[in-house]
Each structure stands twice: as structure tokens, then as C-alpha cells.
Symmetry: C2
Subunit: 109 residues, 2 copies
């Protein structure tokens, strides 16, 4: 633990620009959903896919998981608002929700 | 779960650009450390601080926590490689480690 320093007028600067607790709680909940290796790999694969979208079948083979397992993780990511689901005819495509974790992204440098 | 689609030559594209499991595991471990509201607020406050650095004393008052509690969270963030600790004389300053979560940032759009 470090020594302290007089705070003076720096405090308002810190509070004004920083995340408020309610926002931080929403972001933390999203991050808990993402903080899992398979889900990170799926997000990365969707991000890298042509057109930024992929089906369960596109994802299952390269990641070496069954389609039900991939669907389970995609459902969690969709419910957390991180991934969007678009049914077109008989195919369902998944894409990243733009800006879903923008605040986290911004503060991660 | 969505209908499948022929994968054809899209598979190599997906695998080449995507996170590999070993990288995903490291990132997931870092995200688990970050997926906590107080820690997100501290990261945000450090990011917004003048010069991109802050002491425990700078952070404790605006976030409404004791200095030992703030120190505990900063230690976890430091051990995870997300925050750097710099002692100068009797003061200790914390700053974000640039690029510590670059891969996550990149894939969060």
C-alpha cells in the first residue's frame, strides 16, 4: 500500500470522467460472461469471419466443440447483449453487437 | 441453435485470425480479475487521472472506500499485469499497463 498524497482539486476531475457504480455493475456482469476461454475464442472467430458473422456450424468445427456446446455459449453471449442473432431463412448468423463493451474497451488502453 | 451451413474454405480463415486457446486462457484469467465493479471503477479513475496515474489516496476518497480496500484491489490488478506500480520517493503511483488487454479490446468492436 502506497503513501498518501494531498488530493486537493484533483478529486472532481477523477469522479467526473470515471465510471459510476451502476455502469460498472452492468459492465462487470458482461465481463463475467466473457471471462471464459471458449467464449473469447468464439467472439474472436465471429469478429474475424467474413462479413463479421458466422453460423454455429462455421464455429463448431474449427473450435473442436459440438454444435450444442457452441450454441450454449452463444446463447449466454446473446443474453448478455454481446452477440446478435439473425435468422435468415434456415440459417442463423451470429455477429458482435457494436459498442457492447465500448466503455471497457476505452479504458483498457 | 441455428441451422448449419456448408463450411467450405471459410474454416481456414476463421482459424487463422482467431485467438488460440492458450491465449484465450490468459485473457480469460485477466478478465476474471477485471469483472468486478470496484476494479472497473478504479481502472476508469486511473485512466481519467491527470497524467494517467493516481495514488491510493487519490482513489479512496472519490470511490468511497478505505485505503486498505483500494490497495487490495490494486494489488490484484497489479498481479494480473493490468496496472503498474511506480514508487517515487514516499508516493506510489498506479497506471494502466498499455496493451494489457489489447486483444480483448480489439475483438470487442
Amino acid at each position: 500500500m502506497g503513501a498518501d498524497r494531498p488530493q486537493g482539486d484533483r478529486v472532481p476531475v477523477l469522479t467526473a470522467a470515471a465510471l459510476q457504480r451502476a455502469e460498472a455493475e452492468v459492465l462487470a456482469a458482461r465481463l463475467r460472461v466473457v471471462a471464459e476461454p471458449t467464449r473469447l475464442m468464439l467472439l474472436s472467430m465471429i469478429h474475424a469471419a467474413p462479413g463479421g458473422e458466422a453460423s454455429v456450424g462455421d464455429l463448431a468445427a474449427p473450435i473442436g466443440l459440438t454444435q450444442p456446446t457452441v450454441s450454449y455459449h452463444l446463447r449466454a453471449l446473446t443474453e448478455a447483449g454481446l452477440v446478435a442473432r439473425d435468422r435468415r431463412g434456415t440459417w442463423v448468423f451470429y455477429s458482435l453487437v457494436p459498442g457492447a463493451l465500448q466503455q471497457v474497451r476505452d479504458l483498457l488502453g
